[in-house]
């Protein structure tokens, strides 16, 4: 057993876990943050994507101990109270989700994509960048639309800040 200290969604937490515990299980089983999902166990599907120190990571592919001292943001931590993150709003407005299972990972990856590319996004770039997130419901059509829509919204909201 080890003690892992980290910040999750702005809150400092200290958790005793077995050394083999993955970050996703620390979030789901110990902190009850069940919005982050496990879809494949092999780093392929991206249902488990969270942000660690501002970067998208697959939380099923990291030991919890590797997140010691890190700042982790999950799907539960991106809205400001009742105000949705522009990416969340864009997924809803563009019908970018159906069953919802891949959605948290999609949204966390998509935010990372927009942040890395700034305003320089087009359909082809979004499709290539989403390669590590699998959705079985939407056929990606509306997810791509949502990410491009949110890219515009995020630019506007950044400009306003």
């Amino acid at each position: 057993m080890s003690t892992v200290k980290l910040t999750v969604n702005g809150r400092a937490v200290s958790v005793d876990v077995e050394d083999r515990t993955l970050l996703v299980h620390l979030l789901r089983d110990h902190l009850n943050l069940t919005g982050t999902h496990v879809g494949c166990d092999t780093s392929q599907c991206g249902a488990c994507v969270v942000h660690m120190d501002g970067r998208a990571v697959k939380s099923c592919t990291m030991l919890a101990g590797q997140a010691d001292g890190a700042n982790v943001t999950t799907i539960e931590g991106i809205a400001k109270g009742d105000e949705l993150h522009p990416m969340q709003a864009a997924f809803r407005d563009n019908h970018g989700l159906q069953c919802g299972y891949c959605t948290p990972g999609m949204i966390m990856s998509a935010i990372d994509i927009v942040q890395r590319h700034g305003g320089e996004l087009d359909e082809s770039t979004v499709r290539q960048e989403l390669e590590g997130n699998i959705c079985r419901c939407t056929g990606y059509h509306n997810i791509v639309k949502a990410v491009l829509d949110a890219a515009g919204r995020m630019k506007v909201s950044q400009a306003a800040e």
């Binding site: 069940t34 999902h37 879809g39 166990d41 069953c99 891949c102 499709r127 390669e131 997130n133 056929g139």
Partner: protein
């Protein structure tokens, strides 16, 4: 149409919880004292289970129990069932091999469970499973359907000699042979419909608990049809009587058919929760999903189509070997028979059809309905044949189709189905216009100049949905009726709860069903709640599959809301001192027509519940229920056209354009309909280009993770150009046909027809990987 009524593109009510991480899936549920199950699965495709030694595992800390198949037998837990009886051409019933939830004696596919470890944590259960020693005696294996039917092949079940489940026929063989004898041209093809893994993103999961005082079970499970699960668990597996078993399917992360069935793991979780006295959770990992979720498709077919001198189809002969895997899953028997061969007429006037389907056991994962279920296999066959026929007859493929379209309705096909309505020319014309079909030769020539092979492929699909008229399916062997039920409860303050036996696992029922209520009663959808997925809340229901939730489930809701309206009008008439016949419902108010006298819905509801001043003899309250049994299947149909380029140097395919023109009858929420089509199209494209659940000769699965099985990803597929042509379904009052499966049914033929057009060769199997396409281009 109101702003939130029928036809409105309303964003989904259910989305907020999913985009904020507040969805509630089965694996998110924790119960006090919960234990975790880990199954011990056979590494062999066929073997005798000689001995299971759990003594070392039981000594490990945190291990509660190790339970085996023999204990299931001792406790008289029933075997898994197949709920649709099929009769062979010789009159004999289908031959079912026994399928125990954990194998006490013989395993017949890799991944079949032989025992389960119950422990205090997931990791402890997994560790303990490593310490259980199982002695197997390996038996000869047959994993391929062609090998399984040969004389001397290894035999799976003593009940099924020759590994044959059934040899079933449909249509008039003599008349079909006569049509072929007179044919001017005959087109022949051998076609394989590749085996697929459904792979909803949420793996299956079960949380079971047992209340010793009440002798009552609760099961949270990833199900598309919780009431059917309860019925089967109760009536056939002897878990508990129905009133002592509550089944809850909360948010479910996709199904595509694979979550219809009641699998061994859910059953064992329930049984183990009573045996151990502790709640039991089991959650599949992805590899377990590949090993144990029912697969789809897997047909090997020879087909021949006869034409007269005017290029009219005169007959179709089909012989299909359907691979069922090692056991007959819940609805598997119906898929390659009544859901497949009954659609072999496609959109065409075909006077004579004869089909023979031979169901075969192999040492592979069981096969059952996967999105489309039989209809994709039929549509693929017919549409590959039509495209190949056009090339052989040297006519334009669109013109050949138009020359043979059914244009008069109703139309009785020679294979049971009676098409009620449609306009196949309209959807073909719409798709041809959308893709600029006339301009294709110029685009092909330009691509050729750039070193690319450009192709265009059509697929004019038809499906039978709105499953299903109970009397009809009963006469064909179904063990259940396929109606749907609903209850509409108006609360005393005028808000509404709708209880439905349909189940949403991505389809957006919470929005779509509320739109009907908004349309009828004029209230915002925010004042309507849709309650589903819990056998304690909803009386009964058949669940969601076969594109049935709008055509059947929503019609049941309509029937219930009509009853509510009738009673509410009586109350309003009484309150307004008017005649009931003069009451109309407008914008949430009950009005006396032609006057300004009105009473709002909440006041009518309040009157119903205070019961201070109701018409004489009226019962208080405002709540009605209805069962709706459709009179026929519905027949969604349409045309998909794919234009793509093949790089002759690599065999790689790149999409140029993909258009869809669908006729789904009335659309309730076009945004949601489009989403269903997008998703279906990508599953069809996945089958055509990427996906194949494969086994080696020893029955070892070689595609058991997302690293080996190619799921379609965002950069594998295009955006789509969708449109709708509409003929209203006459079989239900809303005119709905259903949209959930169309994309998966129609897309794969369009893709393969386009590739074969591009490369100028007719024979190309799915998935058309770059390797396979390159070899086909360069084959002699």
């Amino acid at each position: 149409m109101g702003v939130e009524g029928i036809g409105a593109r309303v964003v989904r009510k259910e989305d907020k919880r999913f985009i904020t991480g507040k969805g509630r899936y089965v694996d998110d549920i924790k119960l006090l004292g919960m234990t975790y199950a880990h199954f011990i699965r056979s590494p062999h495709a066929h073997a005798k289970v000689k001995k299971i030694d759990a003594s070392a595992a039981l000594k490990l800390p945190g291990v509660v129990a190790v339970l085996t198949g023999q204990e299931l037998v001792d406790d008289k837990v029933g075997n898994l069932i197949c709920g649709w009886a099929i009769t062979s051409k010789d009159g004999s019933p289908m031959k079912m091999g026994a399928w125990p939830a954990m194998a006490p004696e013989t395993v017949r596919f890799v991944g079949q469970a032989v025992a389960v470890v119950i422990a205090d944590s997931k990791n402890l259960a997994r560790d303990a499973a490593e310490a259980v020693v199982v002695d197997y005696e390996e038996l000869p294996v047959v994993a391929d359907v062609r090998a399984a039917i040969k004389a001397g092949a290894p035999q799976l079940h003593p009940e099924a000699p020759g590994n044959q489940v059934y040899d079933w026929v449909i249509g008039d063989e003599a008349a079909t042979d006569a049509a072929f004898a007179k044919a001017a041209n005959v087109v022949k093809m051998d076609l394989t419909n590749n085996r697929l893994a459904p792979n909803p993103m949420e793996p299956r999961s079960a949380v079971a608990s047992y209340d010793t005082a009440e002798e009552h079970f609760t099961l949270y499970t990833t199900s598309q049809n919780p009431h059917v699960a309860r019925l089967v668990l109760s009536a056939f597996y002897n878990i508990a009587p129905e009133h002592k078993l509550r089944v809850i399917a909360p948010d479910v992360g996709g199904g595509f058919g694979s979550k219809i069935y009641i699998y061994p793991e859910e059953m064992v979780a329930l049984w183990a929760s009573k045996k151990t006295g502790r709640p039991v959770k089991w959650t599949s990992d992805r590899t377990e999903a590949f090993l144990t979720d029912a697969h789809g498709r897997d047909h090997v077919t020879h087909a021949e189509m006869a034409f007269d001198a005017n290029n009219k189809i005169t007959g179709l002969k089909v012989k299909t070997y359907a691979n069922f895997g090692a056991y007959m899953s819940l609805f598997s028997s119906a898929v390659p028979t009544y859901l497949y061969a009954t659609l072999l007429s496609g959109q065409y006037n075909i006077p004579q059809i004869h089909a023979e389907v031979i169901g075969v056991y192999t040492n592979t994962t069981p096969v059952d309905a996967y999105r489309g279920a039989g209809r994709p296999e039929a549509s693929y066959l017919v549409e590959r044949m039509m495209e190949t026929a056009a090339r052989q007859l040297n006519v334009d493929p669109a013109a050949l189709r138009k020359n043979n379209f059914i244009t008069q309705f109703p139309h009785q096909t020679p294979v049971i189905m009676a098409y009620d309505t449609g306009d196949f020319n309209a959807s073909l014309d719409a798709a041809m216009k959308a893709i600029d079909y006339a301009g294709f030769p110029a685009r092909k020539a330009k691509a050729k100049a750039d070193g690319k092979l450009r192709g265009i492929g059509l697929s004019c699909y038809i499906e039978a949905c709105g499953i299903a008229p109970s009397k009809a399916v009963g006469s064909l062997g179904a063990g259940v009726g396929l109606w749907e039920s609903a209850e509409v409860r108006v609360n005393p303050v005028g808000t509404i709860e709708v209880l439905t036996g349909s189940h949403s696992h991505g389809q957006g029922h919470e929005t779509v069903f509320a739109q009907l209520i908004s349309d009828r009663l004029g209230i915002p959808i925010s004042q309507v709640s849709i309650v589903h997925g819990d056998t304690d809340k909803v009386q009964f229901g058949m669940g969601t599959y076969g594109s049935r939730s709008a055509a059947v489930g929503l019609t049941a809701i309509l029937k219930a809301v009509e009853k509510v309206e009738t009673k509410a009008k009586k109350i309003a008439a009484h309150a307004l001192e008017a005649s009931e016949a003069d009451i109309v419902i407008e914008n949430g108010e009950f009005k006396v027509t032609g006057t300004d006298k009105a009473i709002a819905l909440p006041m009518v509801a309040l009157a119903a519940y205070t019961a201070h001043n109701l018409p004489d003899g009226m019962e208080p309250g405002l709540k009605e229920s209805a069962f709706y049994d459709p009179s026929n299947f519905t027949f969604p149909a349409g045309t998909y056209i794919c234009e793509l380029e093949v790089d002759p140097g690599t065999g790689k395919t790149s999409f140029v354009n993909f258009v869809a023109a669908d006729d789904f009858g009335r659309l309730i929420n076009p945004m949601i309909v489009e989403g269903q089509v997008h998703g279906g199209l990508v599953q069809g494209i996945g089958q055509a280009l990427l996906e194949h659940a494969m086994y080696d000769a020893n029955g070892q699965p070689v595609t058991a993770s997302f690293m080996d099985y190619a799921m379609p990803r965002a950069d594998d597929v295009p955006s789509f150009n969708l449109s709708h042509t509409t003929t209203l379904c006459p079989g239900n009052p809303l005119g709905i046909k259903g949209c959930g499966e169309a994309g998966a049914i129609g897309a794969s033929a369009a893709v393969i027809n386009a590739i074969t057009d591009a490369i100028g060769k007719n024979n190309l199997e799915m998935p058309a990987t770059p390797d396979r396409v390159w070899r086909t281009i360069h084959a002699a």
